[in-house]
């Protein structure tokens, strides 16, 4: 059993969206939908303005709110801590989409709820998720939080700051952001530049 997690160093992310493109190719996301996307924010006020690129996807929460609301058990958490959707059981009621605080799920036109799986099929083969493998700046790392030899711990120890999205939700995200460029944390809509 593992406790898979992903870290993204936002100071190193240049917003090239190679991860998003790799995700589409690897997982064949239907047109008009994405399992992974990039949020671009302009923060601060002139002359101290910065642009922050933040890749977002399913956070594979420790306490996923999408799991208990599923009436058929299609949404479930694996023993490796991945939050998955069993397509055959999904009735497409969208209760899990409503429950997700991160907009990470969408309705696949084939009639089931879809989302990032941390490329479970690749992880089973000992490979990294496609987004991690593709990133040209190496700003992503994937591994097992319970493995003391995982590079996750090295990255966490070196990080100036570690953030998760919407910590007030109590979901315990296992996708964490390191070194947020704004140094203000992830949730600061008040400091966004109006345009």
């Amino acid at each position: 059993m593992a406790r898979y997690a992903m870290l993204i160093d936002l100071a190193a992310c240049v917003g090239c969206a190679a991860c998003a493109a790799a995700c589409v190719l690897e997982n064949e996301a239907p047109p008009g939908h994405n399992r992974l996307w990039i949020r671009q924010r302009e923060l601060g006020s002139f002359p101290n303005v910065i642009v922050e690129y933040r890749p977002e996807q399913c956070l594979h929460c420790e306490n996923p709110p999408c799991v208990p609301v599923c009436p058929t058990g299609a949404s479930h958490k694996t023993t490796d801590g991945l939050v998955m959707v069993e397509v055959e059981r999904c009735i497409a009621c969208a209760a899990c989409i409503a429950a997700c605080p991160y907009d990470a799920r969408f309705m696949n036109p084939a009639g089931y709820v879809d989302k990032c799986t941390f490329c479970e099929h690749r992880v089973k083969e000992g490979q990294d998720p496609a987004c991690v493998e593709t990133c040209p700046t190496g700003c992503r790392v994937f591994g097992d939080l319970d493995d003391p030899n995982s590079s996750l711990h090295e990255w966490l120890a070196k990080a100036e700051r570690v953030d998760v999205l919407r910590p007030e939700m109590g979901t315990g995200p296992k996708l964490m952001y390191l070194n947020t460029p704004s140094k203000l944390g992830l949730r600061n809509p008040g400091s966004e530049v109006e345009s």
């Binding site: 969206a17 924010r41 609301v69 429950a99 991160y102 009639g111 089931y112 007030e168 809509p189």
Partner: protein, 265 residues
């Protein structure tokens, strides 16, 4: 300024068909509950009530099946092969199914009517309650405040009583309609106050709501008030109750599903 490369899953996930479901499930649960009360008090006076309730349940189940993107995969069988007591929809599936069974037994006069009516009172209460629970369970959707746990059963019963007043003009539903209208009126008036006392997300959602669609709340309150006051004209009271219940429920379901996270939260 926020921009995206790629698309977060922030679009509406429920559509107009879902709003029809929220109306039909109220009619199904409310008429079944009223049938149960009549069955407990005067089992011989049920007449067509059981069949009317069954029609609403069938219509609702058909709507749920027809609007589901999974309708041709028949995965809905897993609703009954799973144990998911934390899921409102799981309770709803069982509530609707058991209510349908009890209504068939009552309609065909098989077995003890008072016992079936008691069972129906329980199962129809679940049907009335689960839509509100399905909304309130989502902390990520601030407009679906915990108050909907009370507002949806009250307005659901009101909708059903409105239809019963129309279909059975001389029955006893009219006084109950006044009570349900008063309860719905009070809960709807409390709703913005409950939102205002919530967290930052909830207050932001409330501000967005008032900015664009605040008149829906006012319309709902006025319609519930008219339903309560129109004692001498049950047909008018029923029309106001039906319109008010539909407006408020539809607005809360439709507008509450929109994401705040995509706007920076």
């Amino acid at each position: 300024m926020t921009a995206f490369y790629g698309i977060p899953g922030a679009e509406a996930f429920w559509h107009w068909t879902t709003l029809v479901h929220f109306l039909l499930v109220a009619l199904a649960g409310g008429t079944a509950f009223y049938t149960a009360i009549v069955g407990l008090r005067e089992p011989g006076n049920l007449r067509g009530l059981a069949w009317l309730s069954l029609v609403f349940i069938i219509l609702d189940l058909f709507m749920l099946w027809a609007e589901s993107p999974a309708r041709l995969r028949f995965s809905h069988i897993w609703l009954f092969l799973s144990f998911a007591p934390l899921s409102a929809i799981w309770w709803g599936a069982w509530g609707l199914s058991l209510s349908a069974l009890m209504l068939i037994l009552l309609g065909t006069k098989l077995g003890p009517p008072r016992f079936w009516s008691g069972m129906l009172a329980l199962s129809s209460t679940i049907v009335l309650a689960y839509p509100g629970y399905a909304l309130a369970a989502n902390a990520a959707r601030p407009l679906w405040d915990h108050l909907v746990l009370a507002l949806f059963p009250a307005s659901g019963l009101l909708l059903a009583l409105a239809v019963l007043v129309w279909l059975r003009p001389a029955n006893e539903a009219a006084p109950w309609l006044q009570i349900a209208a008063l309860a719905s009126l009070a809960l709807t008036a409390l709703y913005p106050l409950a939102l205002a006392s919530g967290g930052a997300d909830t207050r932001a959602a409330l501000a967005l709501w008032f900015q664009d669609w605040g008149w829906f709340l006012l319309g709902g309150v006025l319609l519930f008030l008219a339903a309560f006051l129109a004692r001498r004209s049950p047909a008018l009271a029923g029309a106001c109750a039906l319109a008010g219940g539909f407006v408020i429920r539809s607005w809360i379901v439709e507008h509450g599903q929109h994401s705040l996270f995509v706007h920076g939260f």
